[in-house]
Amino acid sequence: MTTIVYDRSVSDHQLPAADLAAVGCLFIIPVFGTVRAITKEELQNAAVVCVHAGDDLDYKTGMDVLKSGKHLAYFSADEHRANRHTVELRKLFPTQVGLVHWIRLERLRQDLGRAIAAGDLSTLYERERPNAADTLAGLAILCQGYLATHAVKEAPEQWGPREIRDVLTEIGWVDLMKTAAGARWSGLSVHAQRTANPAWWREALDQKEELDNCLRDETLGEYPEGMPVLARLVEAIFAAENITPRIVGLAYRCLAGRLKAAMEVKP
């Protein structure tokens, strides 16, 4: 039985081709910009097919692999993408969940040869969605940063503006500023203009489609229709409009509710 590595992208991802060929791995990668499909015979002889998680054609290849009853392992440098393909196929093939895996590209590069030689690829597989709430958590952290930069001391012991007063307490800002450690953050408002600019948010979240997909996955489809305030923040991030404290305050509450329900984030 062979292990097939199927990659339609222009890069070979610096896979150690010679080492892998030596242990019987079959590469199907682009030659002069073209790539062929996996033949029926090749698939029949394969125990595992590792597919680079790219576009819809890769997704379709994954379906073909599963229909033949073989193990499928998506790999990608972008773990969200590999993971997303995996999650979607597990939903589509509920009786074959155990056949669908994903592998970090790093691991494929480093350990695939060793795993094939040992006849056991299970050590390569990530068991489940690794960071199932990382995008929600990332957004929540950006919201915390934004809110802290927009905090204004309105009176002794009172922080505003009014529309984010409660949420400043919830993120820990009000208590923090009562402690000695708070002195360090007294000049944080110098960043307020920058955090109000959508470009600041896009340092981390640069592709709307990618962000929407991740949020949809992490909320099991509740986003965007069921989470309009979060959708509103995402719209603002990708529009040329300033981000307002009100939007962020509401979105943070929504994110906090969802993260708490999911018991926060896996380490």
């Binding site: 960071n131 990382d134 958590a137 990332g138 919830e170 600041w200 340092e203 981390a204 926060e264 380490p267």
Partner: protein, 172 residues
Amino acid sequence: MNASWQRKRIRFNHDWLKNEYLLALGCWQRMLEDSVRDPQSEGRFLTSVLPTWTKRREEAYALVLSFEAEMSPAVLMNRLPLKDVQPETRAWLEPLIRDLWRSRSVVSHHLQETVAAITAVDDGYDQLRAAIGDRTSIEELRSLYDEFARFEGLCQELSRRLGLLPARIIVT
């Protein structure tokens, strides 16, 4: 990434403390009560089992001391999507997130209590060893039943305290 703080806790608290050490302490107390006889275990307990605390206590301290570095939400700055933020943002956002987390969570309190629980086990162990002195036979040690029970209680409390620390990264 972090060969998982949670996994380290499982290895220490669940696998060793609860399922080896505390079980052995309980068994030993039943032997002291004379309700169980196992001459082989009796001989081994004082020389091999009880002293394992001295080999594992550093692991207990390391576990608690590594909690913040591995389980505060600031670690998410090294994962997607936040790992792509600009260095000038990271410079203030990362420590801010850590300070906000410390401010709103009860974890700091739990960590202090857990360190206190480790110290209590450590002190309890020294007191127990002092009480044992050079006694070796189970007959001589029956009078120390309460001391062993007290030490077991301290280990139970440490186990409970470790169990209170969250297994997930608390972001909000």
